[in-house]
């Protein structure tokens, strides 16, 4: 099947440090979504990117979609303990079919 590679698998940061997770695909994507899963919880939708080169911000979170629509990133500025969780990208291929990256587990030390 289609693959979306997500790195890193784990990231441990000190509170206040920045954090970035990356998703890469070998093929052009229709769109890409980002989800957050808190420990013990289920994935919750954060955002969807559709346009080439698109950049969207949600407070301390910045989401980018590459010019070639083959990669995306999520950057968190000045992490807080509430940011702890696993962040997934999900790429849409074809008709309503999503492929999730393996996720980046973020741990924030206070």
């Amino acid at each position: 099947g289609q693959q979306v590679m997500q790195i890193p698998q784990y990231q441990h940061v000190q509170e206040g440090e920045d954090f970035t997770t990356y998703c890469n695909s070998s093929t052009t994507l229709s769109n890409i979504q980002w989800y957050k899963q808190r420990p013990g919880g289920h994935p919750v939708f954060l955002i969807q990117l559709v346009k080439s080169g698109e950049v969207k911000k949600q407070k301390r979170l910045t989401f980018q979609f590459g010019e070639a629509k083959k990669n995306s990133s999520l950057h968190i500025t000045a992490t807080q303990t509430t940011d702890v969780g696993t962040y997934f990208c999900a790429a849409l291929w074809g008709f309503n079919k999503f492929y999730f990256g393996s996720g980046t587990k973020l741990n924030v030390k206070p």
């Binding site: 099947g1 919880g41 994935p43 969807q48 008709f95 309503n96 079919k97 999503f98």
Partner: protein, 114 residues
Amino acid sequence: DVKVTQSSRYLVKRTGEKVFLECVQDMDHENMFWYRQDPGLGLRLIYFSYDVKMKEKGDIPEGYSVSREKKERFSLILESASTNQTSMYLCASSSPRLGKETQYFGPGTRLLVL
């Protein structure tokens, strides 16, 4: 608020048993999905359905079947459970009508097959 519910949070079954996992959504969504989540592997799509009685295989359909007799309900069936099907199972729904194709997830069912 969209609500996606799953019939059980935790389930323990024996090898060879037939297992039914049920998912219900209350937002009239056309699309419903079943994923399994395993450490380091993310979410892998088992099956999805884009309409009543319609289904399509995902990446890992082997050992599973699904049923969608009503729009709000999507069932995942393990015909003969095996230990390698021990996992977290997540159901999700979405609607292309909303233009965002946001997936709303249920709380998950953690299945242990002994």
